[in-house]
């Protein structure tokens, strides 16, 4: 049994690659190999809606579509996780730094410089 998190990802993959909005039954049929009950599909859609990934229209049955593309969500999330307002502790370990243009030039000179251990005196 896949976790709800896995199912959320699979459902979003389907919604992102679909041509238009999908009803819950469409998703159940598309995921027939997983043997999901319709209630499970609705649970997953409800969670995705709560997280802001999907929205639905007022047709009967309701049809669901992504609120934005995968790339938009990815960019938004990166800003939320690494952004100014983010809790600095939550994602402590990031391979991100930033340097201004002058420092970047200095670093590139260092990288193209002599072999390690030779020269490149430490900063004062």
């Amino acid at each position: 049994m896949a976790s709800l998190g896995d199912l959320e990802r699979v459902v979003m993959d389907h919604l992102w690659s679909a041509d238009g909005p999908l009803a819950a039954t469409d998703l159940r049929d598309a995921l027939a190999d997983r043997g999901l009950a319709l209630t499970t599909v609705h649970t997953v859609l409800g969670r995705l809606q709560q997280k802001g990934f999907v929205t639905h229209d007022e047709a009967r049955p309701r049809r669901f579509r992504p609120t934005a593309g995968r790339a938009e969500h990815a960019a938004g999330l990166m800003h939320e996780v690494l952004g100014q307002a983010a809790d600095r502790q939550a994602v402590l370990a990031r391979f991100v730094g930033s340097v201004d243009a002058e420092e970047a030039a200095l670093l590139r000179r260092l990288l193209d410089g002599p072999a390690p251990g030779v020269g490149s005196p430490p900063p004062a």
């Binding site: 959320e8 990934f53 996780v81 100014q84 983010a86 809790d87 370990a93 930033s98 201004d100 670093l107």
Partner: protein, 310 residues
């Protein structure tokens, strides 16, 4: 009465609040042995809190006994004070309680808020990321900015951006992943937790901010050191340095500025350190450093538990 003990603890607290962090922050040896330096910072934080609260407590409880355990026991069992209880005793006791509550409360609050933020980030990220073909335990985030980060916790999440994968060659990517894995394996978020909390709790104390910045840089250096062992190729140091520069000096590439907390200075220090490594600390020096850290914890503990020296 315990005036000498209280005074000794107060002196220790003052030393740990200002000159000791300033010295360690300026010292050059920590980048030669980030792990030993991290141990020192933890000892300074713990001993500082212990000695300031201890000094207040010892002074406040002086009328009730000749040592802290004895006085505490007398208060708990309702025995009357043997000495005169003055206003300053009540003031220091109140301060001790307030400070202890603030430090521990902020620590607990910081822990809880961080855990909640991480859960939320993980829940959102898990919907968007895809498995990274090249790295089984990493997930790919579809965004052009070159970033890599990990969300620590019971189910850690190691995320690479598509931009990072595109920007780096295989060896550099392996270096980035090894760096993040080192953070997760050594639980670096736990080293940082008290310093994040205490910087929030003590905004008036410059040493708190300095300690936080130093610890943040040291965990990055430590992760660099651990990562080097897993970096392929003839020159792991240069490979890792190139990866750092690619991530840090790509002109932003849409990376939010808040992510730059570690700051340019720290990035440059890491790259310099990789390209021109200093010799590791000699074993005897390392042992002395670790012994000093142990002593730093032992002294206030002993002062608190042993009978007064005066």
């Amino acid at each position: 009465m315990l005036p000498a003990t209280a005074a000794a603890l107060a002196v220790l607290a003052a030393l740990l609040a200002w000159p000791v962090p300033a010295l360690l922050g300026r010292a050059r040896w920590p980048r030669r042995d980030p792990l030993a330096a991290l141990v020192c910072w933890q000892a300074i934080g713990l001993a500082g809190g212990l000695s300031i609260i201890g000094a207040l407590l010892v002074h406040g409880l002086a009328p009730w006994g000749h040592s802290l355990p004895e006085a505490t026991w007398h208060v708990l069992t309702g025995e009357p004070a043997t000495g005169e209880v003055r206003g300053d005793h009540w003031v220091t006791l109140t301060l001790a309680g307030a400070l202890a509550a603030e430090l521990l409360g902020v620590l607990a609050l910081s822990w809880w808020r961080t855990a909640r933020t991480r859960r939320r980030h993980r829940a959102l990220l898990e919907v968007v990321v895809r498995p990274a073909a090249a790295v089984p335990d990493a997930r790919l985030l579809d965004t052009p900015a070159p970033v890599a980060f990990c969300i620590p916790g019971a189910r850690p999440l190691l995320v690479l951006s598509a931009g990072m994968v595109a920007e780096l060659d295989d060896a550099q990517l392996a270096a980035v992943v090894a760096h993040e894995r080192a953070h997760l394996r050594e639980h670096h978020h736990l080293y940082l937790l008290p310093f994040v909390a205490w910087e929030a709790a003590l905004p008036v104390l410059p040493a708190a901010a300095r300690a936080h910045a130093a610890v943040r840089t040291l965990v990055e250096m430590r992760a660099d050191d651990v990562a080097l062992a897993a970096v392929p190729g003839p020159d792991p140091r240069r490979t890792l340095a190139r990866a750092i520069v690619a991530a840090g000096a790509s002109g932003g590439g849409g990376v939010p500025t808040g992510a730059l907390a570690a700051g340019g200075g720290a990035v440059t220090a890491r790259v310099r350190r990789l390209l021109g490594p200093a010799a590791p600390l000699p074993p005897a020096v390392r042992a002395a450093v670790l012994a000093a850290a142990g002593l730093l914890l032992a002294v206030p503990t002993a002062l608190l538990l042993l009978p007064a020296v005066a």
